[in-house]
Amino acid sequence: MTKYVKYVDVTKCDGCRACMVACKNWNDLPAEHTDFLGSAQSHPKVTADTWNVLQYIEHENGKGDLEYLFRHSSCFHCTEAACEKVCPEDAISHTKFGTVVIDQDKCVGCGYCVQNCPFEVISLKEYKDKNGKTYRKSQKCTMCTDRIEEGLQPACVTTCHTGAMEFGEKEAMIKKAEQRVKEIKDRYPNARVYNPQGVGGTHTIYVLAEKPSVYGLPENPKVPTSAILWKDYAQPIGKAMIGATTMAVVGAFVTNKFFSKRAEKAEQEDGGESHE
């Protein structure tokens, strides 16, 4: 099955944020209260109700020129997806298109995926059922897999007017990205394709105008070792041992520390905040 990717050329983005509204409109997501962040940016990062956020970055480049950079930020749909590996309920899976989706019926809201995502693009939300009982679910961009199944493109791509976003076959999009980087090298000497191999490549690939750290992105993200351990060793063993149907119960024994990706992340990153 051919894999598809969302191609994001940040140098063509003019910051209109149609992608943010289109996502909410298609996915029926509610608006949230937002604080003033000191820039044009609306949300510090994606949330359970806001699956993509446009970053606004004022950056003085090597020549001392001001660049006003934008980046459509949402789930990367990693090939080696940490979230998928750590999910104790097998609620997270890859579709035939290569997109990573959460089965909301299976999700028990344990939050391991949230903790292990190298890009911090999964969020938990608390809901109330009819009886007022609270429960939690993980939420993130689905790449509009329901639309893809019907032959439509993701809503954010469909609405993007400058061609900053496209949706297409992986190989073609990677080629396009590489070609684009060549074209813009004069203006953006640090331009590069961002399709990190530490997570096996992603299904949202970027043409970045600057180093990843300028966007608050890890230079070389990896699936946390703990996640691999968990998926490939602990989980099968655990299941075999207690025959538990709810692996999250087992997971409760595992401290957050075990899954803390932050220790690993510190080594990978060379700093840079997404805004301010």
């Binding site: 439509l152 469909t158 076959e169």
Partner: protein, 190 residues
């Protein structure tokens, strides 16, 4: 209703066509299959009506999807050559013009000195407005000024209308001039 014959199938084809690389056949796209599968698909059974965006002066085409007497989705009209299916954040939002909790749904009246709105029916409102217009016009109408016929009232103003349809602006301009209104202004000035 519309000369566009834009049924759902065509819409899909149009939108999909933009993504020629999407190899629709490979994705299992065929009409029967779609109808079988689309019970839950958001826009499976919506009525689609083309409109033009109500915000800025670009004039982008938008498709309004309605179902069960509400607007369930709005997306760029891929047929419109101005925007080719693309929209900005505002254009994408027009669904909420219908769904917003803040929409006015009833005529409201505020009496002199009152602290609150009162709901009134349309008939009463328009009858009362017509009376007020007549009272003011009659009390202030100037037929002649220094021998010249001027037929005007300088006590009634009409403001706004840059978001009205052409046909509405035409009738409004005609009615106001017909009443002798000279304080006639709209957003082109501000």
């Amino acid at each position: 209703m519309v000369e566009m014959n834009l049924n759902r199938r065509q819409f899909l084809k149009l939108s999909g066509a933009a993504a020629a690389t999407l190899a629709i056949v490979e994705l299992g796209f065929d009409e029967k299959n779609v109808y079988a599968k689309t019970k839950e698909f958001k826009i499976a059974k919506t009525k689609v009506t083309p409109t033009i965006c109500c915000y800025c002066g670009v004039g982008c085409g938008i498709l309004v999807h309605t179902k069960n007497n509400t607007v369930v989705y709005t997306e760029g009209d891929p047929d419109n050559p101005i925007n080719e299916g693309k929209l900005c954040s505002k254009g994408t939002t027009i669904r909420q013009l219908y769904t917003s909790k803040k929409r006015l749904t009833k005529p409201l009246y505020r009496a002199p000195g009152s602290k609150k709105w009162e709901e009134k029916d349309w008939e009463w409102m328009l009858d009362t407005i017509a009376k007020r217009v007549k009272e003011t016009r009659d009390a202030s109408f100037i037929e002649k000024e220094e021998g010249i016929t001027v037929n005007k009232t300088e006590k009634i103003a009409s403001l706004g209308g840059a978001a009205l349809d052409n046909e509405e602006t035409y009738l409004l301009a005609k009615l106001m001039r017909g009443l002798g209104v000279v304080y006639l202004e709209h957003q082109a000035r501000i």
